[in-house]
Symmetry: none
Subunit: 201 residues, 4 copies
DNA sequence: TCATAAACGAGACGGTACGTCTCGTCTTGTG
DNA sequence: CACAAGACGAGACGTACCGTCTCGTTTATGA
């Protein structure tokens, strides 16, 4: 009878309350049990919203994650501006480090990545989210180019990737510890590579 | 009453055949359906071994993956020696690229990583495997140091990480495409950083 | 503050149209899917009336059936008058037979009976309806008594019951086929019993 | 992996205990809540057998009823032999009466009939059961024919139908009360009709 | 004729039961 | 008599329908 998905037509009052409760419960469940432990039933119980309603609005566990990601995406992200490329990249790497290791954020971040690796819907959300972040972070490189720290034509996104990839690699692939030193080293590598003109488009 | 787990006491004849069949089936299932699609039932059916037997010996899906990983770890890995650091790192990055994108290997590699991220047993196997690879790959950096391409004290493992991390990052985190150009760029970044002495221990 | 149920205060125009549409849709759904397949949602969709309205006015699926029965009860019923008891009873049995086997009426009749067996509201409606029919049919027996075909004091209702019960029995209990021969035999039995004075009050 | 339905290959021990528990629970639930109130969940809870197991073995609520019916069919049924047709038919009618009105049996019997009317599986079971009963009861008529109480060629099954149909009719169709008098009258009608030769094949 | 209350349209939610899918454990009957 | 095969327990998934609630919108109807 209805046109689209529930929650899109009358997004006020109860509907909004329900959505908020479920989102919050999703994040909490992810932080506690990780992606594999995220269940619709668990979220429903925790949020006080009925199972059926969660299925109606979020369809499945991945839908929950996708929605939670949109919530996360809405949060502002402070693009650093320290004055030089090294400092900026270091700041970005440290932000990522925090996202991966902070007791509160870490499990959620990991869950997001795992979800994306196993669900197309979650992947879409995560990738959109990250694309936006990458785009924001690119400003750092563009400023560096303007200052003459890096050659024109430098691939800003690639610089950022080099700066943060080793952190993700350690967390998700090799399971090695990550710390500030690791973040700084990765950032430094990226800065050097950018300066050397290795990362031009 | 046996001491250890089944399959450890009489590792000949049928026991060995069963193990081989299950390992092969596991890899095939991983290649076809990925990590999320790996089920004990599926492996049992494909291998012709009974469900119960699989549970007895491998305990759960992650156990299957851990075992399959050991199989993969046994395969020889050709450490490149092209004569200079850039070439060696590029060769390594391209090997990793193949492992991630090859139609046959890709799904299995991805499954291994996902499994490790969600199961302690799989993680142990994968991390041991990668540690060994990293150790082998370190040889190229040590040779570069000996040739004077990089300063003494360069952290060999870190160089390799910088060289391959962007590939994993793209595949597992941002879902961006990976190609030879990406591999080469990542390798070049690592070489530059190593030369610049940013990656000393 | 309304007095009674909706539809009682302003029974004109739209209200009447809604009622008619729902009744018709109910009968059609019953004919198509039977009692077990009758859903408020289905009736609402078919009638073009909104779910909520159906619930408001008819309360639940049984309410729909009860209402549809009242509609059926309003239809005139031709009490036969063939001149003798045998012929009258046979005519009645054949009417019942049609009601049970006719492609259009059969499913609805069966649905009514099943509904009555599972819902007090539907039962009330059906029993009232049948009581009226039984009363009308009793005229046949009374005429027979007046003609001397059956002894005074014959229980008219019981005669009719004996004449039609085997048909219902076959349809609802044993699932055996019913045809004109079965109807005629049942009617004949009732006539014989009535004549023999077995069915006096 | 298995050939047929569960419970057919290893019908001993636990399997048998499970079946017995479920059957008993089914009958109890039917007696308490009737057909409409029979739920797989309820039976599972009452029997102490897990939901999933019930679904595996009985498929759905109708499967439960079909199985319970087979259980009922196994119970011996005392075909009366009073010496004359009237007495025999009266005894049969009274047996049916008990089955319909006894506080313990009544609800179950009604549930069986309702189930049969709404489920092909239950219908098969019930019809097979009743066919067997009808066949047994036919002996009564055959003896009467042998004694000369009824003409040769009398349709034994039809006689029994006439004798019991009014009881079912009252219970399932008109909702009228049934008592011993009603049973006796129905039996008497059948006897008269049989004697009159109305029920020859 | 026109204000007003009745009735309806619409969307969302809580709730019960259904039937399915894996996983992992237990138990039976057979080689 | 061990163990392979069969059956079960456990829990989550996703669906259908029921019935309720809260809004807003239309439309009879009588003053």
């Amino acid at each position: 009878m209805t046109g689209g998905a529930p929650g899109t037509v009358r997004p006020g009052g109860r509907t909004a309350r329900v959505r908020a409760a479920v989102r919050e419960a999703t994040l909490a469940e992810l932080a506690e049990h990780g992606y594999a432990g995220l269940t619709v039933d668990g979220v429903a119980a925790r949020s006080g919203v009925h199972r059926t309603t969660v299925y109606r609005r979020w369809r499945n566990p991945d839908g929950l994650i996708a929605d939670a990601l949109e919530l996360a995406a809405a949060e502002p992200w402070p693009v650093p501006d320290t004055g030089d490329l090294d400092g900026d990249l270091r700041a970005i790497a440290r932000l990522v480090l925090t996202g991966l290791t902070d007791p509160a954020q870490g499990p959620v971040t990991r869950a997001f990545v795992l979800a994306a690796a196993q669900s197309a819907a979650a992947a879409r959300s995560l990738h959109a989210f990250l694309a936006r972040r990458l785009e924001q972070a690119a400003a750092v490189v563009e400023r560096a180019v303007a200052r003459g720290e890096a050659p024109a034509g430098t691939d800003a996104a690639e610089v950022v990737r080099v700066a943060v990839a080793p952190l993700y690699y350690r967390v998700f692939v090799t399971g090695e510890p990550v710390d500030r030193a690791a973040a700084d080293r990765a950032a430094a590598s990226a800065a050097v590579a950018a300066r050397a003109g290795v990362l031009v488009r």
